[in-house]
Subunit: 152 residues, 2 copies
DNA sequence: GCTTGACTTGAACCATTGTTTAAGTTGGAG
DNA sequence: CTCCAACTTAAACAATGGTTCAAGTCAAGC
């Protein structure tokens, strides 16, 4: 019961870095930001469970989608703390990005398809232009005049 | 000839801010970064030509597309310096983003469509996975092992 | 049991994209 | 000709996402 043979070995920070392709400095940073966590050995070194590898993968994929670490941390907080996450757990977390992603793909497609003619024709100065009208966007940007372009 | 009547009046930084919706502090920052430029009055105040409005619009739209200011600056450098840019000039500059944008839309669509099942099934640890394999991406990431995920 | 590579920390630093503040100057309306 | 809003600058500060460094500790192989 002390060390179950079929239980996969824990990973050091160097091993996790090597297998994930993420620099150890970034992994420690993620841990400070509470995106991942570790147990410590008696000598204060980190040991990660195997499923941390999947957590890190999720973090990097999410970052590629343009999602800030704070939002990723909040999504990861949905995972159970007492057991290894199941496929269903991961599916639920992944769903967090789906709608946002769909919206952003649509927005980018519109922008691409209208960029040249809108910039060329001068309608960038007109509120109704698809490029400059932020009403399509996900969330309101707060009060104040935003004639041309909403915040980046 | 000193002040041609049909020539539109120049804009102060406050006017450009008001009409573009971009804070004056950001406009001054863009000018320091050489994305826009102004002439100075005898009293050292900025005066912008009208077409700066379109330049600023282009900058903000490009930012929404996830393009860094340095790249926007390089694209804007393609515009003529001696005359007001024509529709064709703007079209050429806009083309800079098209291919990149198309690639990114495709990438994001793939990511969205495979996110849940890939994360759920565990294939995130496999090199061939669409989510983790950066070979689809635009540029090589430089040397060194990148097992799981390329840089964000 | 010693050596050496891997680990620990905090702090400083980096790039990007700005905002805020202080202290002073300009310019247009009346 | 005066007054005040709008302008000027440099420098400090902010948030995000890390990297680098110095100084010291741990652990695993020989």
């Amino acid at each position: 019961m002390t060390q179950v043979p079929w239980q996969a070995k824990e990973l050091t920070v160097g091993e996790l870095s090597e297998r994930s392709g993420v620099p150890a400095s970034a992994l420690r940073f993620y841990e400070r930001q509470e995106l991942i966590n570790s147990r410590r050995t008696s000598g204060n070194q980190r040991r990660y469970t195997r499923d941390t590898l999947r957590r890190v993968a999720f973090i990097r994929v999410s970052q590629r989608l343009g999602i800030p670490l704070a939002a990723i941390r909040d999504a990861l907080a949905m995972l159970p703390e007492n057991r290894t996450p199941t496929r269903e757990d991961w599916a639920r977390v992944s769903e967090c990005w789906r709608q946002d992603l769909t919206d952003r793909i649509e927005q980018m497609t519109k922008l691409r398809d209208h960029l040249t003619d809108c910039i060329g024709c001068g309608c960038l100065t007109i509120d109704r232009c698809v490029l400059t009208n932020p009403a399509d966007q996900l969330q309101a940007e707060g009060p104040g005049p935003r004639r041309l372009i909403s915040s980046p």
